[in-house]
């Protein structure tokens, strides 16, 4: 039996891939993402981490782009290209981890609120509303200033503040699924909560959650950059946000050192755009109603 299921799943995945590749924007976004992720993963292999050390900086401070440093150097004389490359590692790590945290919390809260209803739903929804109305940046700042500085804190701060929208979305989707007659049939067959959520609701909301996840990653990367820019990140690691912050505090911005600002800024824009393109394309593939007339 499982052979049939596996075969069908493979066919379904192939179908999704075919539809996805029909969306040029999504495909372009995915291609850029793959290149960036590979470069970020390979950064320790293709570059020399020692050149990140302020003391052993190879160049002169704040030099415009040249043959040796294609994107110029920063205030300490380090290569901006190298910094941007290493910054991608932290930005992606924080973006993805925070998203996973936020999506997991949001999905559990959303499904529980919709499935159980009654007072469980009431409490969970008020809790969600509380986080929804709270300015999440302020909360994240408060959290990261209370907790010890570091990458884990930033992940926690972003994850804990960005789940309410996912929860709302998942709750709405769960409610529509739970109103379908096949849920009633499953109940009449004797299925308990675990069976209904595990077999019917979760597989039903997962595609939506997945598409939503790629969109949340973009937001998380921006949130990470914001927190680092505000000086709340880990000062010992390079991220795009902290590069921008250094550029501002060191006077590079007023000094006209555009090569110090543009690479991390453009990197943030490109990565977020790519995640959004992929997310939108996935959404369209998984929900044919969004497709419209072609």
């Amino acid at each position: 039996m499982s052979a049939i299921t596996r075969q069908r799943r493979r066919a379904a995945l192939a179908g999704i891939w075919r539809e996805f590749t029909a969306d040029r924007g999504g495909l372009a976004g995915l291609a850029v993402l793959v290149v960036v992720v590979v470069l970020a993963l390979l950064a320790p292999v293709i570059t020399d981490a020692a050149e990140l050390d302020v003391i052993h900086a190879p160049g002169l401070p704040l030099r415009p782009p040249s043959g040796r440093f294609p994107l110029g150097t920063d205030v300490d004389g380090r290569s901006v290209l190298l910094l941007t490359l290493w910054g991608a590692r932290i930005s992606l790590l924080v973006g993805v981890s925070a998203t996973v945290l936020s999506v997991v919390i949001g999905t559990i809260a959303g499904i529980a609120a919709a499935h159980f209803g009654g007072w469980v739903s009431g409490i969970l929804l008020r809790f969600t509303d509380f986080f929804l109305v709270l300015p999440s940046l302020v909360l994240a700042i408060a959290l990261s200033s209370v907790l010890p500085q570091g990458v884990a804190t930033i992940i926690l701060a972003i994850g804990v503040t960005s789940w309410p929208t996912t929860a709302r979305l998942v709750r709405a989707q769960t409610l529509t699924i739970e109103s379908r007659p096949y849920i009633e049939r499953a109940k009449a067959l004797g299925g308990g909560h675990l069976h209904i959520v595990g077999k019917h609701v979760l597989p039903g909301v997962l595609p939506l959650v997945l598409a939503n996840t790629t969109l949340v990653v973009g937001n998380s990367i921006i949130a990470e950059a914001t927190l680092s820019f505000l000086g709340l990140g880990d000062p010992s690691v390079v991220s795009w946000g902290s590069m921008l912050q250094r550029a501002l505090t060191s006077g590079a911005v007023t000094g006209g050192a555009w090569w110090y600002l543009v690479p991390p800024g453009a990197a943030i824009v490109v990565i977020v755009l790519c995640f959004t393109l992929v997310g939108r394309a996935l959404e369209t593939v998984l929900d044919p109603r969004l497709r419209g007339t072609r």
């Binding site: 039996m1 049939i4 009633e184 049939r185 067959l189 004797g190 077999k199 597989p203």
Partner: protein, 550 residues
């Protein structure tokens, strides 16, 4: 005199991903003013496509060939402005499913007034529009005060009346009614058909009515055209077509809606597989122990204002082994609430449900054991199956929940075979959307049979199925009773269905069972006035008592 509507060699082709699909081919029909024409056919036969092509209401992917002459003017050649003027003022449509065709956030009076305002050559004074709306509502037997109501405040029949009033708004000469009574119960259906017939006679309108139910068409229309796979296969006067159908498909359509009281259709649903013989009466009586029973069952709802609604008001009902009980009644009579309570999907306010003499516990292992015995067959098989689950997973769901011993694959195959999906192996890997409506309903039934239950509770099991499939599913229920002794409680608004397969009938009205008895007693010698009015509302009528021999 020129014909009001003339279709000459009409053909409609839809462009789809898998190439072109010919939905309608070579249809020739004509309609004189004051004439009534019924178009019958199953879903996918092209009957709605023909009707919608008259006003060019087809989707963009459709290509129309042939001529559509409306009052001597070719609709296919009309310019956009002319078409807009003709729509509603020349011909109008009573859409299918009144509950979805009305805007839920606007008052019905405003919606009826909309075409009046749009088609007025110059802005009309408010008082004139109001007077016209009031007159229209009176024409459809609604009090003019209902103009201020929102659609959700009206019943299904009232909404359908509003739709008809809308269709009449601009005094069209042709009305197209697309399944105007599908979602309505017998009594309201009779009222709507009566109303349409009267309006046609009074105003000399042309009426085209579309339905899958021949008896409904025969009650209103002078002529009927039967469509099958995009073509008109038979066309003639209603009486002649009903009494002496020539085409096989017409015969199948007529057989799907049997006449109550006709001995030929008793225990003989239109099925292609022969039924096993009725087991001897003595053997049946021997195993006739009570399985599912309700004692003084009450379910009370609170509406928004806190008012008390007695959905089920003191019901005593028994379903014995080896019998099919039909629970009939109008929509809103509490049938479905009763069924849900019997299935323990809803808690009764008071009273008890027992299974084989023991009360059904509200939770825990006892409830789970009960759930193995009593199975639900929901109304719409399309939504009763998870679209992501294969047939195998859908049927195996019950056995997995209850951890049935034995080989899972064998259980599933046996259940599919019992539900007459043969060869079962060919269906295992399919998804619901790859199956037809009848096959889906069989999968649902197989899913119930996999647990080897004692009782099936079927909520309108064939209401959403095509005529030719209805007989097959009903035949299956009857065969399961005869072969396995499986009891069933079949909830339906269709008395013909009760006549075809049930042993006993329970008539429900406003939460109470007003009459319970054998089919012959209840349907042929009704004692309660409500049962009499249900029977009187049947479009086909009841066959004369004299013919019945038991």
């Amino acid at each position: 005199m020129t014909a009001l509507l003339e279709l000459k060699n009409l053909g409609v082709t839809y462009r789809t991903r898998d190439g072109e699909v010919e939905a309608v081919k070579g249809v020739n029909l004509s309609l004189a003013p004051g004439d009534t024409l019924g178009i019958a056919g199953e879903s996918g036969s092209g009957k709605s496509t023909v009707a919608m092509s008259v006003l060019r209401l087809l989707p963009k992917s459709a290509r129309v060939t042939g001529e559509i002459m409306l009052d001597g003017e070719d609709v296919t050649a009309m310019r956009w402005g002319r078409l807009r003027a003709v729509r509603w003022a020349g011909a109008s449509v009573v859409f299918q499913g009144a509950m979805h065709a009305l805007n839920p956030v606007r008052r019905v009076g405003t919606q009826i007034a909309e075409p009046i305002r749009l088609h007025a050559p110059e802005p009309l004074p408010e008082s004139a529009v109001k007077a016209r709306v009031a007159a229209l509502l009176e024409q459809v037997d609604l009090p003019p005060a209902r103009a201020g109501a929102y659609p959700h405040e009206l019943s299904g029949g009232q909404k359908q009346r509003v739709m008809i009033a809308m269709a009449l708004a601009c005094r069209p000469r042709l009305i197209i009614a697309d399944e105007p009574t599908t979602a309505l119960d017998v009594i309201v259906q009779a009222q709507i058909l009566d109303l349409l017939g009267r309006l046609v006679a009074e105003h000399g309108l042309g009426l085209i009515m579309i339905s899958h139910d021949l008896s409904v068409l025969a009650a209103t229309c002078a002529r009927i055209a039967v469509m099958y796979q995009g073509e008109v296969v038979e066309h003639g006067g209603s009486g002649q077509l009903m009494t002496a159908p020539r085409h096989d498909h017409t015969r199948a359509l007529a057989a799907a809606f049997p006449t109550v009281g006709d001995p030929a259709s008793r225990f003989a649903p239109a099925t292609s597989t022969p039924l096993p013989p009725e087991p001897p009466e003595a053997a049946r009586r021997e195993r006739a122990d009570v399985l599912l029973a309700a004692r003084d069952l009450r379910v009370v709802f609170r509406d928004r204002t806190g008012g008390r609604i007695d959905a089920v008001a003191g019901v005593d009902l028994q379903v014995r082994r080896d019998e099919i009980v039909a629970l009939v009644g109008q929509s809103g009579s509490g049938k479905t609430t009763l069924a849900r309570t019997l299935l323990a999907l809803r808690k009764p306010t008071s009273g008890t449900v027992t299974y084989a003499g023991a009360p059904v516990p509200a939770s825990g292992a006892g409830l789970k054991r009960f759930r193995r015995q009593v199975q639900l067959v929901p109304q719409d098989p399309a939504s009763a199956l998870n679209p992501r689950h294969t047939v195998y997973e859908a049927v195996a769901e019950g056995p997995r929940i209850h951890r049935l011993p034995g080989d899972e694959r064998e259980i599933v195959v046996a259940a599919l075979e019992a539900a007459e999906l043969r060869p079962a192996e060919a269906f295992l890997g399919r998804l619901p959307h790859e199956l037809s409506g009848g096959q889906r309903q069989r999968v649902v039934i197989a899913g119930a049979l996999a647990l080897r239950p004692g009782v099936l509770v079927a909520d309108e099991p064939v209401a959403s199925l095509d005529a030719s499939v209805r007989g097959e599913i009903l035949g299956l229920l009857l065969r399961l009773r005869r072969e396995l002794g499986l009891a069933a409680l079949v909830i339906t608004h269709d008395l013909g269905l009760a006549w075809t397969i049930a042993d006993r009938v329970a008539v429900m009205h406003r939460g109470r069972l007003v009459e319970v008895g054998t089919v012959a007693q209840t349907l042929l010698e009704p004692r309660h006035d409500y049962t009499k009015s249900l029977l009187a509302a049947l479009p086909g009528g009841v066959a004369a008592r004299a013919q019945i021999q038991f």
